[in-house]
């Protein structure tokens, strides 16, 4: 339970705002930090803390792309494909990224490492294609930079890339990438 575990932090969050309801987003971040995503139970906990119906909390967590409502991969990759980014090749980059990681739009890789999804506007149109990985920006991307990043993240997580044999066993996929 957030209430018991983070009593001090919750009190500090509430102290920042004149209206309890305004604390909803910081509390959602807290819940996401604790549970990995905004669980249905977390919605109820936050609603009880603020004194609103859980429906209102879910409304906020559903509106903003920063909140996950279901479990995601360890690395949560969000690519903006809105018009300005698309003009700078974000859409193509996105498709290539999907093929590289062999996932569907919005899906998670089989090893649970990466979730790839589209988002609306990351406010970095001038440096598109831009990717947000767990709230960190990576800008002016192309697939070469991207492959390096993926390798780096895999190493960080202690899960080196599936070996070359596995790649060559599935030639169609690498061809598509």
């Amino acid at each position: 339970m957030l209430k018991e575990k983070y009593a001090d932090r919750i009190a500090a969050i509430f102290a920042k705002y004149p209206d309890k309801r305004s604390a909803m987003m910081p509390l959602l971040y807290l819940a996401q930090e604790e549970y990995g995503y905004v669980t249905p139970e977390a919605l109820g906990e936050i609603a009880a803390l603020i004194g609103v119906d859980p429906t209102q909390v879910r409304s906020i967590s559903g509106f903003y792309t920063m909140f996950r409502e279901e479990p995601k991969g360890k690395y949560w990759l969000q690519v903006c494909t809105d018009l300005p980014c698309a003009l700078r090749g974000a859409e193509q980059f996105y498709q290539e990224l999907l093929a590289e990681l062999d996932v569907e739009d919005g899906g998670t890789t089989a090893d649970g490492m990466f979730t790839v999804e589209r988002v609306m506007c990351l406010a970095a149109c001038d440096r598109a294609p831009v990717l947000q990985n767990n709230f960190h920006y990576h800008e002016n991307l192309d697939m070469d930079k991207m492959r390096a990043l993926i390798r780096q993240w895999r190493e960080e997580a202690g899960q080196p890339a599936p070996d070359a044999a596995a790649d060559s066993a599935d030639p169609d996929d690498s061809a598509a990438g």
Binding site: V52, D53, P54, T55, Q56, R58, S59, G62, M120
Partner: protein, 867 residues
């Protein structure tokens, strides 16, 4: 809104309009010009979400240097038009404003908005329940583009059958995201259980409250929905809107007298006869505005329920068997004749004024005065006749500077529409004071919450009155017409005044409305509380003024009518001490109270007029000799008098169940056998006779009751404009009879003391009955779709009492009170005050007393046998 009138030009024509009025309303009402809308609703704050109301707005130009109006060469004022179109619904009428609604830009904007809305709206109008009364359909026909440049294949596909709770089904595709339903729940009701989820074209309405869409008003969201996105489970695919007749009617549930329209149509499953397909609100700004509770909306199923009694029953050789009307009437008349003046009558909450008048005539004929009201726990209603809320008052008029007191009532459970109106009055700035021995939902909106101990409601009101007297918050001119003021002052000397601030707010309020319930009160306590409330109203000068006065939260739809016609709860109680020989139960479920169940056995003959032949109506009593089937409100004409003393007329919607007759006719037939004149041929003639005999009702003839008062804003009158399913007031808005305070006579204040009350012995607790909106009476339980919303029988026990008795939350317990044993689940929380167990009425079929009494609560260790 200020009442300044200003000049505003629409399409070049000047109109006089009140300043500050919403532009959409003003254009429609004062200029007859339509500004189309989807999201705007006159009962909610404008949000400007749908952009349908875009108009060209300009102001008369003024010279910056001199402030003089800039004129065109021809002398007319020059208008500076806005660079873009603006939403009409978020604009208020201002002097010098110019509006253009017919320019090319406006026409194109409307076309584009409709094309945009339809780009993700399915064109399944033929199967949509809204088809035929759909604002989106209507406005598309009127303003739409006719064709679309969008590719049909790219329409957003979303869920088409998503239940929002048990009663409402959401079609996400049809939703045009106007948020009317969400705003209704948040602004009007205060149950914020609906919200948007996701964004843009994936936007959906969700409800994850527990249970989902947990509210008593959910059906109204389907009414205000401008498309077919929200449909009720009850009506879903039941009929096309044009196939139904809308019969004006009045809700038979509760004291508010909600104005409704019954949509009736022939039905093959019911053997090809007409039946009620849906219930819609009918606008009456002085009663329910345009809202109805879900109990009224879905609680109509009893009218043609197969459980209804179809034929008269007569006891032959110890058994009740089916009989003809003539035999049954003959037997009933014989019993009444033999009893002479030892005939008692108990009239139930759904008896109409016509029925009551005929019952009273029958009693008069045999010389009996035993005219009782069911339920038997009510006090003396005279304070209502004296200072009841003034005729023509509107709760919607209450706002800043006004005050509302709710005492001894859980308005949400007992009169949901008044809950809405009290809550909204508080939202508009009225000072709401809620006084009760337990917490109620209205507490959230209250400026003052007065939590008193059991039986101390009268002391609270006396304290408020004493505070008003000692601080001279009394009204001097009002006191001139008061008798007994000095005695009251003397009697209240030294009374504790713990709620001075609340007293000041209410006493000094411009308007004050006081709702008085019977929560936790015995009849003496109820009498005292009503009188104490009247005292406060009178001395503070709030009696007899418009939008002021006392509103009793009676339990039944026509309890007030029964009081007006000389019936009383006191007479019912007197029958316990002095049982009549023949007892006529007119729609009164008297055996639901163990004391009266015993009374049925102590009289010689019971004649029961009832819709449902069940234990509560005396089916199990061996003395029940004649049972006569009577008609429901939908099968006949009649009138109910609401607790605001408004006499309202309802009309025949469909044919009768079996051989049932209106109660007045059945009573008339008995009377005829006893030598009374032939009963009148129609309820209109009964009412005619009633108006000639009863002074209070002298104006209330059927033609007068059918008159329609003008409604503002005219939501029901122009369904295509505000885009709701609300019906117009056609059929009559009813007439309220004036209280005595509205006349010139003297008013009397009288000091009252809280009666002794219940004194629980050692090991005992007070068992206090409470009313719940959803219960298991046959008038409601026949609506099977509501079963999931009716709580299992429970008793609320205070945490301290529970720990003393070793009861945990969810334990099965048996409540022993007055010889009755009620098996319930214990709900342990601070909701019940210490020492008091709240036992909701009619949740289980076991009889229980209707007044607070001392009793015990015992935990059941072995499982209850299922039966």
């Amino acid at each position: 809104m200020t009442e300044n009138t200003v000049t505003l030009h629409i399409d070049g024509t000047p109109y006089q309009m009140p300043e500050g009025m919403n532009l959409v309303d003003a254009a429609r009402i004062y200029a007859g010009i339509e500004i189309p809308i989807f999201c705007y609703h006159p009962k909610m704050e404008p949000v400007g979400m749908c952009r349908m109301c875009l108009v060209d707005i300009g102001f008369e130009a003024r010279d910056r240097a001199t402030g003089e109006p800039v004129l065109n060469p021809d002398g007319t004022p020059q208008v500076r038009w806005g660079r873009k179109l603006e939403t009409g619904c978020t604009t208020r009428v201002t002097a010098g404003m110019h509006i253009r609604t017919k320019t090319q830009a406006v026409t194109k904007a409307r076309k584009d908005i409709l094309e945009f809305l339809l780009s993700s709206h399915p064109l399944d109008c033929p199967i949509c329940d809204k088809g035929g009364e759909c604002p989106l359909q209507d406005l598309t026909m009127r303003h739409g583009p006719g064709t679309s440049r969008m590719a049909f294949d790219e329409k957003k596909r979303l869920g088409k059958h998503l239940p929002l709770g048990d009663l409402i089904v959401l079609d996400c595709e049809r939703c045009i995201q106007c948020a009317r339903c969400i705003r209704f729940q948040a602004e009007v009701v205060g149950d914020d259980v609906l919200a948007f989820h996701e964004r843009a074209r994936s936007l959906q309405i969700i409800s994850i409250s527990d249970p989902p869409f947990d509210t008593y008003f959910g059906g109204n969201t389907a009414d205000v929905c401008p498309v077919g996105a929200l449909t009720t489970v009850d009506f879903r695919f039941g009929a096309r809107p044009w196939e139904m007749e809308n019969i004006p009617s009045i809700s038979p549930h509760g004291p508010v007298g909600e104005n409704i329209a019954l949509g009736v149509r022939l039905d093959r499953d019911s053997g090809g006869v007409k039946r009620v397909k849906r219930v819609l609100p009918r606008q009456n700004e002085e009663v329910n505005e345009i809202w109805i509770s879900d109990k009224t909306r879905f609680g109509h199923h009893f009218t043609l329920s197969p459980d209804r009694l179809q034929t008269p029953l007569l006891r032959k050789r110890g058994e009740l068997v089916e009989a003809s009307w003539s035999d049954a009437i003959k037997a009933a008349a014989k019993a009444v004749k033999e009893a002479g003046n030892r005939v008692g009558i108990i009239a139930g909450p759904m008896m109409t004024n016509e029925d009551l008048y005929m019952l009273r005539g029958l009693a008069g004929h045999v010389g009996s005065r035993k005219l009782g009201v069911w339920p038997p726990n009510l006090g003396d209603p005279d304070p209502v006749a004296e200072v009841g809320i003034a005729a023509g008052s509107r709760l919607t008029a209450l706002g800043k500077g006004d005050a509302v007191l709710v005492i001894a009532s859980d308005l949400e459970e007992e009169a949901p529409i008044w809950f809405l109106q009290a809550k909204q009055a508080a939202d508009r700035g009225a000072h709401l004071v809620v006084a009760n021995m337990r917490t109620t939902k209205l507490d959230r909106y209250a400026g003052h919450v007065i939590a008193y101990d059991f039986n101390e409601g009268v002391d609270v009101l006396n304290g408020l009155t004493a505070a008003a007297i000692s601080h001279r918050w009394t009204n001097r001119s009002a006191l001139e017409r008061v008798n007994g003021y000095d005695e009251l002052t003397a009697a209240l000397k030294g009374t504790r005044q713990p709620y001075k601030e609340a007293a000041e707010a209410m006493a000094k309020a411009r308007n004050l409305v006081v709702f008085v319930g019977d929560d936790g009160l015995d009849p003496e306590g109820h009498t005292a509380l009503l009188r104490a409330a009247a005292n406060f109203l009178i001395i503070t000068g709030h009696a007899g003024q418009l939008n002021n006065g006392l509103v009793p939260v009676w339990p039944g739809a026509n309890t007030q009518g029964a009081f007006d016609l000389g019936f009383s709860s006191e007479n019912t109680r007197a029958m316990l001490k002095n049982p009549p020989e023949v007892l006529i139960l007119a729609g009164a479920p008297a055996a639901a109270d163990p004391a009266y169940a015993a009374l049925l056995d102590r009289v010689e003959t019971v004649i029961s007029l009832t819709m449902f032949h069940n234990a509560a109506a005396g089916a199990d009593a061996p003395t029940t000799a004649v049972v006569l089937p009577i008609q429901s409100f939908a099968e006949r004409d009649g009138t109910f008098t609401s607790a605001m003393r408004r006499v309202q007329r309802f009309y025949t919607a469909h044919g009768p169940a079996g051989q049932s007759l209106p109660a007045w006719e059945a009573v008339g037939l008995i009377g005829e056998r006893l030598g009374m004149p032939r009963p009148p041929r129609s309820s209109a003639l009964v009412m005619q006779a009633l108006t000639e005999e009863v002074r209070l009702y002298s104006e209330m003839t059927y033609p007068a009751l059918a008159r329609v008062a003008e409604q503002f804003p005219p939501i029901g009158a122009s369904p295509d404009f505000y885009g709701g399913a609300t019906r117009s007031a056609a059929g009559g808005t009813g007439i309220a009879w004036p209280s005595r305070a509205e006349g010139r006579g003297k008013l009397t204040v009288k000091a009252v003391r809280a009666p002794e009350g219940v004194k629980p012995g050692p090991g005992e607790l007070v068992i206090s009955p409470v009313r719940r909106l959803y219960d298991r009476t046959p008038e409601f339980y026949t609506a099977t779709l509501m079963h999931g919303r009716i709580p299992e029988p429970f008793a609320a026990v205070n945490t301290a009492d529970a720990s003393r008795l070793g009861i945990a939350n969810g334990d099965s317990v048996v409540v022993h009170v007055a010889g009755a044993a009620v098996h319930v689940t214990a709900v342990v929380d601070s909701y019940a005050p210490e020492g008091v167990v709240l036992l909701p009425l009619y949740l289980s079929s076991e009889p229980m007393p209707l007044v607070p009494l001392a009793g015990t609560v015992e935990k059941i260790t072995e499982p209850v046998p299922a039966d």
